[in-house]
């Protein structure tokens, strides 16, 4: 029902197609990549896009297309996993704050305010730096950065839903607190959380690419779009394709995910339609 409504939005089919294609490419990377993404071939360095190498090769002769294909995995994993972490942790914290009230509420929400007191990318950069370079550090860093949004959203939902009559009814029937939370509050609080999560994935992918571009995240020679773009910027004059291949993949994926997120929002919460 929700999906059918989402599909009716004009740009949603394009977004869904992009997302589906990205997922298929990520899953099928070993089959789809024409070359080994790490294999160097100095004789073929900086080759122009052509029949042998559809997107050309980089400065050590690696096939750009194969690296873009493998990089899809990193981007999708980073986008979805970091948002999943934030959704889970944020919702739990928000629920705790909204349900417990009082001191716990104050402490949790001030802590969330503190996280929001840092510009997101700067916080992610600092966390990624102390956690050590690598995908795990970036996932945790982005998870932390996005957590407050979900905590605030969930808390607001819990506070609003706790006043509803069906919660009173459940309580009057003697249902224990966790049962009310699980059966009554959570299902009703879910839609805005789902909307926020779907809109956040595109930003998380952008953020991972930014951190990789700066040198955190997947380390060389591993392929991620952001690090490929950074590595290629010294060759803009001779070989712009090193930058434009992963750049186009990143841009199209983010646009597609934005359309999907907008469509899900419109379907679940028509009031927010822009």
């Amino acid at each position: 029902m929700v999906l059918r409504r989402a599909a009716r939005t004009r740009l949603a089919p394009f977004g869904a197609a992009v997302l589906l294609a990205a997922v298929l490419v990520a899953l099928g990377a070993p089959l789809l990549a024409p070359y080994d993404p790490l294999e160097q071939n100095l004789g073929q360095a900086l080759a122009r896009p052509g029949r042998a190498h559809l997107l050309g090769t980089d400065n050590v002769g690696r096939d750009v297309m194969s690296r873009v294909i493998w990089g899809t995995r990193v981007s999708l994993v980073a986008g979805f996993a970091s948002v999943a972490i934030a959704t889970l942790v944020g919702s739990l914290l928000g629920m705790l704050a909204g349900y417990a009230g009082g001191r716990a509420d104050g402490l949790v929400m001030r802590a969330m305010d503190a996280v929001l007191s840092f510009p997101p990318l700067v916080l992610a950069l600092a966390l990624g730096a102390v956690l050590g370079a690598g995908l795990t550090g970036v996932l945790i860093a982005l998870g932390v950065v996005y957590t407050p949004t979900f905590a605030r959203l969930m808390r607001g939902q819990v506070l609003a839903i706790a006043l509803r009559e069906y919660v009173d009814a459940a309580r009057a029937l003697g249902a224990p607190g966790w049962r009310i939370a699980w059966h009554h509050v959570l299902p009703n609080a879910a839609p805005p959380i789902v909307v926020q999560a779907s809109l956040s994935v595109a930003f998380a992918i952008l953020a991972e690419a930014s951190l990789s571009f700066l040198g955190l995240g997947i380390q060389p020679p591993g392929a991620s779009w952001g690090s490929m773009i950074n590595a290629g910027r010294g060759y803009l004059q001779q070989a712009p394709w090193i930058v434009f291949g992963p750049g186009a993949a990143l841009f199209v994926t983010v646009v597609g995910l934005n359309f999907v997120g907008d469509a899900i929002r419109d379907a679940l919460d028509p009031r927010l339609r822009g």
Partner: protein, 314 residues
């Protein structure tokens, strides 16, 4: 208004405490020994021991925190372990390029967003509106490092109109200085312009549907005067909110922009400190950035109360 100011300032205090605790904890989040993370393995044990002592890492953690906070309150944000330079001096040397970049970017974004947002809303569903909304989508989805490289490729490498990196002080050499800031400012400003265009268009559309607009039109005012006198003012409130919300993105964007264009600003300092594993410097700069961010948000909050009197009395 005074009550609003007091209320907002009081709300900041606990957050500030938590922010400082968080920045302090940063050093202790390193997996393993932070000293090993900061110094290469080859460095001999006595140098490591003296750094450990200097940073107070050999003492119990609550003592470390108390000492660190005590220094903070006296305005001592620590010093770089690489150069020994105090954080404050390092940052004050680099703040001007960052501010120049940010204000130029802001100017670029307003110059693009206002005409585009107003015309898009006034000429809804025409070609120009579609161009405006497509631009907004492009700006929001385009990562700024990619945009920077596209601009460098186009205006620096291909057309050779503008320098592709480096910084010239615009106070000493106005023209060369401005030229060195054009591409960075456009890079940083475009994303902001996209968000403002989108917000202004939708808030104008909302205002255009109000009864007072119908009344103004019925009085026989020209469309331009209706927009200028009645619509624009009411449509500005969401724009200010969004500007406030975008501050964080702007600072993050400045970090990347300064990195790509090799501008010697505070953002570049963060990246350099992170990769030099100069954690005391990272802590100091991050704390200053957070303080600046909190203060700017406070200003936006107060500005909001000033623009919209309804907020003052809530």
């Amino acid at each position: 208004m005074a009550r609003l100011v007091l209320h907002r300032v009081a709300a900041i205090v606990p957050v500030l405490l938590l922010v400082t605790a968080g920045v302090f904890a940063l050093l202790h989040l390193t997996p393993g020994d932070p000293i090993d993370a900061m110094m290469a393995e080859s460095v001999d044990a006595s140098a490591k021991a003296s750094l450990r002592q200097e940073l107070g890492l050999d003492r119990p953690i609550h003592v470390q925190y108390a000492t660190w906070m005590g220094r903070l309150l006296r305005g001592d944000l620590g010093r770089s372990i690489r150069t020994g330079e105090p954080v404050i001096e390092n940052v004050s040397r680099r703040i001007r390029p960052s501010l120049e970049l940010a204000s130029l970017a802001m100017a670029v974004s307003l110059l693009i967003a206002f005409p585009l947002g107003i015309v898009s809303a006034a000429r809804r569903n025409t070609a120009i509106d579609r161009a405006g909304t497509s631009f907004a989508l492009f700006g929001i989805c385009m990562p700024n490092f990619l945009l920077a490289l596209l601009l460098i490729f186009l205006f620096g490498v291909t057309l050779r109109w503008l320098p592709i990196s480096g910084y010239t002080d615009p106070v000493e050499e106005p023209l060369a200085g401005l030229r060195s800031l054009v591409l960075p400012a456009v890079t940083l400003g475009l994303a902001l312009a996209a968000v403002i265009t989108r917000t202004l268009r939708s808030s104008m559309l909302e205002a255009l549907a109000e009864d007072y607009v119908r009344t103004a039109r019925a009085k026989g005012l020209s469309e331009w005067r209706v927009i200028r006198g009645h619509v624009l003012k009411n449509a500005l409130i969401p724009v200010v909110t969004v500007l406030g919300l975008q501050l964080g993105t702007l600072i993050g964007g400045a970090v990347i922009t300064e990195y790509v264009f090799a501008l010697p600003g505070v953002g570049r300092l963060v990246v350099d400190a992170v990769f030099a594993r100069d954690y005391p410097l990272v802590q100091g700069v991050i704390l200053l950035i957070a303080l600046g961010f909190i203060l700017s948000n406070l200003l936006v909050d107060l500005l909001y109360g000033w623009i919209d009197p309804r907020i003052r009395y809530r």
